[in-house]
Amino acid sequence: MNTLARKRHHKAAPLLLVLALLALITGAAAFAAPSATATAEASADDVVAGERLFAANCASCHGLDAEGQDGVAPSLVGVGAAAVDFQVGTGRMPMQASGPQAPAKPVQFSQDEINQLAAWVASLGAGPAIPTAEQVDGSLGDAANGMEVFRTNCAMCHGSIGGGGALTQGKFAPSLLETTPEHIYEAMLTGPQSMPVFNDANVTPEQKRDVIAYLEAQQAGSPGGLSLGAIGPVSEGLWAWLILLGLIIASTIWVGARSS
């Protein structure tokens, strides 16, 4: 093998090539996309950029005008920026495959791109806006009140502390134990997928914050130890049979092994 070929076939060559390409792309993107640090307010540029992103990534189902298609995808006119921030920000959209419900998955866009998409969708018709940092700050809420709001409005699907639960025909209420405060707030506001809308007349913004405070208290863990999924007595029963009785029966065999 001559020296040239040896260099060309170096082990690290493909990796280096990919890295170089990545650097090129991100570099280009950094130049192309204007930095979004300036303001949270949607600028006209954001709307234009958002429309372009929408046409490329969402329009195949929702249509170029975002008015949706019967039986395929709903109209997005009037859903507001909050809906976009929730659906795209949790990775539910763009949807990967049709099924009972769109599951959360790794997010496909940067926050800037999500903001651009949100700006464009918000420009189509009035709808709920992305909540402010103060609105979703759990430390300002009352966790005890949040408990009462949660268990009257949310627990029947999400479980007593938000561990999640099943709905009909393969749909489900996801676990809330790792959801961000913004997304919890937006979900209540916009009612994604099977979830009903809890508008501000129904559950006031203060109450929404209380719910966030309650859920944040749950995310801190259970005072009793590991929570076994926080899904109630079924996992406790399974544990009692497998671990508790299992360990003890194993020890009866050990004790009984030294028999007459």
């Binding site: 949040g146 639960g165 009909t168 259970s222 005072p223």
Partner: protein, 573 residues
């Protein structure tokens, strides 16, 4: 020093003995023989779980307030600040968060309750599958069965005491079930709750049941259960020298007392370990009881799950016909009565009466002290497995929402699947189990008659190949042939010689049919004649044996030869 101590002990023992004559009892118990097997300790687990329950329960009663008076929470737990609740719930929170060690003891109490029922049912399965319920132990089976029911009652009354949302929903379901009973339902519900549900009486009443009535009854029946074990003597697994007339084992003292005493600490240790690491019944998550909220994952503790499962499985309409009937202005809810009262009633009824059912089929009046190997009672084993499958389907259906979300299944399809399989799987399980048992019996026959396969094949000089079998030793043979060869009952004819119908014929006919179901199809144990015959004809001849011994080491010799060849080659290089 040692002599002094011995004298002191002897002196004390003598002092007590002279005043109570207890020495005779101690001697009797210490010398009582028990056969040894790990599966005989399953009931012991239940007993120890019960002792742990008593100990931890006494601690909890020191802090629990069985009252439904409304208070506002002022303790340290953040998500309950200022929330209105009953004193029962508030005191449970106080026990959990303010009493030192309170939460650990609560968790120990609850975990050992789950263990108590699990151990009881495992013990019942052991007794069932080995036939330990046969004469003279039928009554003790009934005592044990009652203990299981009392265990369910103890569990359910305790589960409801903290007055949280989860257990309140459970209580609401029980209220509905009680109300579905015709005629007496509504009155019973009013009587239980002291008026319209939930009222303010139920917690104090459940408390009395939970800390006094039920444990008192359990304690008394445990004493009876153990007394009967002593009276009947313990059963033993089949094997050489073990008959229905003897007990082969060790005396209670010193080996078993040490084992059993140590085992208590093993059980307590494992329960404490699990209770220290895993949360159970986090009532602070569920919140104080309020009839309006019902959260996802609302299930009873596992031992009541089968009732919940039956309720979830039951359709409201069958083939277009409603199951809720209105008769003369009274509502009869078959959709609740059937799954929550009739089905569990039948299920438990069969369990309770099973010893008599089988006694009718065998017609055997003798005492049985040697256990059956499950394979030697194929129909019984099949029935047991079918009942377990039935029960497990109900438990899984009771957890259908958890199963659906865990495995990404459709809740509706899961329920429809179980609505069909509850009729299909248990009979299928019965049939498969019976076939497996009979297959194992045939294998036993084969082994007794022909011996173990050795994997050694010998070729005679005349070119004939024979496979060498190793005959079983005496213990192995005993285990495989020593079981009852039961046949269907023969009954007297319906009419006597004068053509008069015999009274009691129908009852006999029923027993005969039952007997045919059990024993018509059977694999009979190898008889002495068959065994002798097999030894003579199929057993290896002297020449064969000698050749087998020679062949036994053929592998080693061959290996050695190869090694020497290898060595020779390596020295060549």
């Amino acid at each position: 020093m040692g002599a002094k101590l011995n004298n002191a002990a002897a002196g004390t023992a003598n002092y007590v003995d002279e005043r109570t004559s207890i020495g005779g009892f101690v001697k009797f118990f210490a010398r009582k023989l028990f056969p040894d097997h790990w599966s005989f300790m399953l009931g012991e687990i239940a007993l120890y779980a019960f002792i742990i329950l008593l100990l931890s329960g006494v601690f909890l009663t020191a802090f629990f307030v069985p009252s439904m008076t409304e208070v506002h929470y002022e303790g340290p737990y953040e998500t309950m600040h200022g929330v209105a609740m009953t004193e029962a719930f508030a005191s449970t929170l106080k026990t959990s968060f303010e009493v030192p060690g309170g939460l650990l003891i609560r968790q120990i109490h609850h975990w050992s309750a789950l263990l108590f029922l699990a151990a009881i049912m495992t013990h019942m399965c052991r007794v069932f599958f080995t036939g330990a319920f046969r004469k003279p132990r039928e009554l003790n089976w009934l005592v044990g069965f009652t203990l299981m029911i009392l265990g369910l009652a103890a569990g359910f009354t305790g589960y409801s005491l903290p007055d949280d949302v989860l257990s309140g929903n459970g209580l609401r379901i029980i209220d509905g079930v009680v109300k579905s009973i015709p005629l007496i339902g509504s009155y019973t519900s009013y009587w239980l709750f002291g008026g319209e549900y939930p009222g303010v009486d139920i917690i104090p009443r459940l408390f009395t049941a939970h800390v006094l009535i039920v444990p008192g009854l359990i304690l008394a029946l445990v004493a009876l259960h153990l007394f009967l074990v002593f009276l009947h003597k313990h059963t033993q697994y089949p094997g050489g020298g073990k008959t229905h007339k003897n007990v082969v084992g060790l005396p209670l003292f010193p080996v078993y007392t040490a084992k059993a005493g140590g085992f208590f600490f093993v059980v307590f240790g494992v329960v404490a370990l699990v209770a220290a690491v895993f949360t159970i019944n986090p009532v602070w998550n569920y919140g104080p009881y309020d009839p309006s909220p019902v959260s996802a994952g609302t299930q009873p503790d596992w031992y009541i799950l089968f009732v919940d499962g039956a309720l979830r499985l039951m359709p409201g309409w069958v083939f277009g016909l409603p199951l809720e009937w209105e008769i003369f202005g009274y509502t009869l809810s078959m959709n609740i009565l059937l799954p929550a009262v009739i089905i569990p009633g039948l299920f438990f009824g069969i369990i309770a009466l099973y010893p008599w059912l089988e006694a009718w089929a065998t017609g055997d009046k003798g005492e049985k002290h040697v256990l059956d190997r499950p394979r030697n009672a194929p129909v019984r084993t099949g029935i047991g497995v079918a009942m377990i499958v039935f029960y497990v389907i109900l438990v899984i259906e009771g957890s259908n929402d958890i199963v659906a979300s865990l495995f990404h299944l459709s809740l509706n399809d899961l329920t429809i699947f179980f609505q069909w399989t509850i009729f299909i799987f248990p009979p299928l399980a019965f049939w498969i189990t019976k076939r497996i048992c009979m297959g194992l019996q045939r294998k036993d026959r084969e082994l007794v008659l022909h011996g173990h396969e050795t994997g050694t094949i010998v070729r005679h000089e005349n070119g004939e190949y024979i496979e060498v079998h190793q005959p079983l030793d005496e213990q192995e043979v005993w285990l495989r042939v020593n079981y009852d060869n039961r046949k269907p009952l023969e009954i007297e004819p319906e009419f006597n010689e004068r053509g008069v119908r015999r009274p009691g014929y129908k009852w006999d006919l029923f027993k005969q049919r039952l007997s045919k179901f059990y024993y018509e199809e059977r694999v009979e144990p190898v008889t002495w004649e068959e065994y002798q015959e097999a030894q003579r004809h199929h057993g290896p001849s002297e020449q064969g044996k000698a050749e087998a011994v020679e062949a036994e080491h053929a592998d080693e010799r061959l290996n050695k030869e190869w090694e020497s060849v290898d060595k020779a080659e390596s020295t060549d290089k």
